[in-house]
């Protein structure tokens, strides 16, 4: 990692690169716009299918919705063009597609829920207007991050602040009284602000990640060199390792007591990967996995809700009828089974039969209506997103950028793994949202911030270096300056 990034300078020198050669460093913003248009078409088509299958009126309205969607992301595109011209062209379109399909899916589940509520003679609030509002706010935040963070390296200056704020945000719902921080679905992780509820933990994820990246960069050499050898492992000195272990233990402890298993899993995994990336020692992964298994066993023995989750995972049908039992997972599996390979078609399934279909279990709803093929396509889009993030992390020239970019990309893909793995019964279900797809303001806001930082890093990675000669050119005194030989007979 510390070796110079080769070829980064390209065929430019300190003297002759006043103008950036467009062929050498394409910004690829055109590609981005094209793909955004494509995403808008896909989303409009999805909306059209939902309307058709739900026997709503097919009007010209859909066209306007599609255009509004394109407009919204068009603004983001213009902002990227202006503030991060060399950013990766794939990140924004992938996000747009996921977010758009998420909106369509939430709308579709709204329709189903309204029908259920009508039959029961009740009134319910639709989620989709709120989610649209959140998307707009999130894009605003995205813009703000792009504008404020001109260079991701400035983030290192505030890393202790970020770490502290992150921890406070994480602990806040647990400490505050239930009037402000109610317990919803068994987890005390929400803050109620007026009509909205926020999940501060979503933001602290990113803040703590920034802290860990900056901290590891600052202490990397000490990690590798100074320390004791125990059982063939070079352990860093306690005072170097201290803050990491402290923050790690704090976040995990808080999360465990808030009963937010998914997020604690995310934290654990992401920080493990960052340690591995920073030190290039496989032993951290081994150590981490051992700790994880130990922690999991302890958690299983101590907490009944963990036992419940594991029991639901082993056999959802055995606990089908119990409260907090396998009903949800079983319904999700039924849904996925109904969908099969090709799906029932958008708007033609019954995703509302799964509780929480529009948040944690949106993958089940999509799997039911789009089938394996559609769900696989969405997973591919996630993969491309994380891939581009990792690629930027590889290409960026500073160590902090590498660590942060790698960590954020891994965080994103790990969220997808945890939630889709949970829904499909690969791993025990832990309540977590699918990034960009699920209904939920905090998750959306946080993930847009994440993407903005990734774009910033990719911009730094792809931007042609200007005037970055390794050493300044010494100015020779005029008397000693070289005279250019004009001609010499041979």
């Amino acid at each position: 990692m510390s070796s110079p990034v080769q070829g980064a300078v390209g065929p430019t020198t300190g003297q002759s690169n006043a103008g950036v050669n467009p062929a050498a460093a394409p910004t690829r913003r055109g590609t981005e716009l094209l793909l955004l248009g494509f995403a808008a078409i896909v989303v409009s088509a999805a909306l059209m299918l939902v309307e058709a299958n739900q026997e709503q009126q097919l009007t010209f309205r859909i066209f306007w919705y599609g255009l509004a969607f394109l407009g919204l992301f068009g603004i983001a595109h213009v902002a990227v063009r202006r503030f991060a011209p060399y950013a990766d062209p794939l990140i924004l379109p992938c996000v747009a597609l996921l977010n758009g399909l998420g909106l369509v899916m939430i709308y579709r589940i709204d329709l189903a829920m309204t029908e259920v509520a009508l039959r029961a003679g009740k009134q319910i609030n639709n989620d989709v207007p709120r989610q649209i509002l959140w998307t707009t706010v999130a894009l605003g935040l995205f813009l703000a991050v792009l504008v404020v963070v001109k260079d991701h390296r400035t983030l290192t200056k505030y890393h202790y602040t970020f770490g502290l704020v992150g921890l406070v945000l994480l602990a806040l719902p647990a400490l505050l009284p239930s009037a402000i921080a109610p317990t919803i679905n068994g987890a005390k992780i929400w803050l109620k602000v007026g009509p909205f509820s926020l999940q501060p933990g979503e933001f602290s994820k990113i803040l703590l990640l920034v802290f860990f990246a900056a901290f590891l960069v600052a202490k990397r050499d000490l990690f590798m060199a100074a320390g004791r050898r125990v059982l063939g492992i070079d352990l860093p000195r306690a005072r170097d390792l201290g803050p990491v272990v402290f923050a790690w233990a704090c976040s995990l402890g808080v999360l465990v007591f808030q009963k937010d298993l998914g997020t604690s899993l995310l934290f654990f995994g992401t920080i493990l990967v960052m340690l591995y990336v920073a030190t290039e020692r496989g032993i951290w992964v081994g150590l981490g996995l051992t700790l994880f298994v130990g922690g999991a066993v302890v958690a299983y023995k101590l907490f009944t809700h963990v036992q419940q989750r594991v029991a639901n995972w082993f056999d959802p049908l055995a606990t089908y009828a119990q409260a907090g039992g396998g009903y949800q997972i079983a319904q999700a599996l039924f849904g996925l089974g109904t969908g099969g390979v090709g799906g029932t078609g958008l708007g033609a399934g019954r995703p509302e039969l799964v509780p929480l279909a529009n948040t944690d279990f949106i993958a089940a709803a999509i799997g039911e209506e789009l089938g394996f093929i559609g769900l696989a396509a969405l997973l591919m889009v996630y993969t491309v997103l994380a891939l581009r993030g990792m690629r930027s992390a590889l290409a960026v020239r500073d160590t902090f950028g590498k660590l942060l970019g790698g960590g954020l990309s891994f965080l994103l893909i790990m969220q997808v793994f945890v939630v889709v793995g949970g829904v499909t019964k690969l791993i025990p279900m832990t309540g977590i949202t699918a990034p960009f797809l699920s209904y939920g303001g905090s998750s959306l806001l946080a993930n847009y911030v994440l993407v903005a930082i990734l774009l910033r890093i990719s911009d730094a990675a792809r931007r042609p270096q200007t005037g970055s000669r390794p050493r300044p050119v010494p100015q020779a005194p005029i008397a000693e300056a070289h005279t250019v030989m004009v001609e010499r007979p041979t």
Binding site: P4, V5, Q6, G7, A8, V9, G10, P11, T13, Q15, A23, A24, A25, P26, R28, T31, L35, F38, A39, I41, V42, A45, L49, A52, N53, D88, P89, L90, P93, C94, L97, G342, G343, G345, L346, A348, L370, G371, I373, G374, A377, L378, V381, V384, L387, R391, S392, L394, A395, A461, R462, R469, V473, P474, A476, H482, V484, M485, E487, R488
Partner: protein, 146 residues
């Protein structure tokens, strides 16, 4: 109904394929390693081990000097900020430059007085430098070696 269903899935996958196409098209561009497009196949086609690793001065006052190639362009001339400072009466202050494009090194003359020669041909435009072919600048001769 069936048609729209299949059509939408196809559309979704088309998006994925379009995205992957973009991934493919700048497989090397993001790290600045590739500029010329046709380099992709060439780099895969088993030239491993025959990549130029160092620059060797074979004749002239600096004979025996080796410079390890790390991807950064190599500036040659009498100016003391050059990568290879030539102490050669026939060399200009900024004489020539070697730069990496894709996996190949290119030599270009920077408007020198006495010219740069790749083998026996005068370099008038950027030329690809194969392994072991001498580049002559005044009385200095350099070569790329793996």
């Amino acid at each position: 109904m069936q048609l729209t269903r299949a059509g939408f899935l196809a559309l979704l996958w088309l998006f994925v394929l379009a995205a992957l196409r973009v991934v493919r098209s700048d497989l090397y561009a993001a790290s600045g390693l590739r500029v010329a497009v046709p380099g992709f196949r060439k780099s895969v086609a088993g030239k491993r081990g025959k990549v130029p690793r160092q620059l060797v001065v074979t004749h002239g006052a600096l004979a025996g000097t080796r410079i390890t190639l790390d991807g950064r362009p190599i500036l040659m001339g009498r100016a003391d900020d050059s990568t290879l400072v030539l102490d050669d009466d026939y060399a200009s202050t900024r004489h020539a430059r070697l730069s990496l494009r894709g996996t190949d090194w290119y030599v270009e003359d920077l408007g020198s007085t006495n010219g740069t020669y790749l083998d026996r041909a005068k370099v008038t435009q950027p030329l690809r430098v194969p392994l072991g072919v001498p580049i002559r600048i005044g009385k200095t001769v350099i070569e790329l070696r793996s």
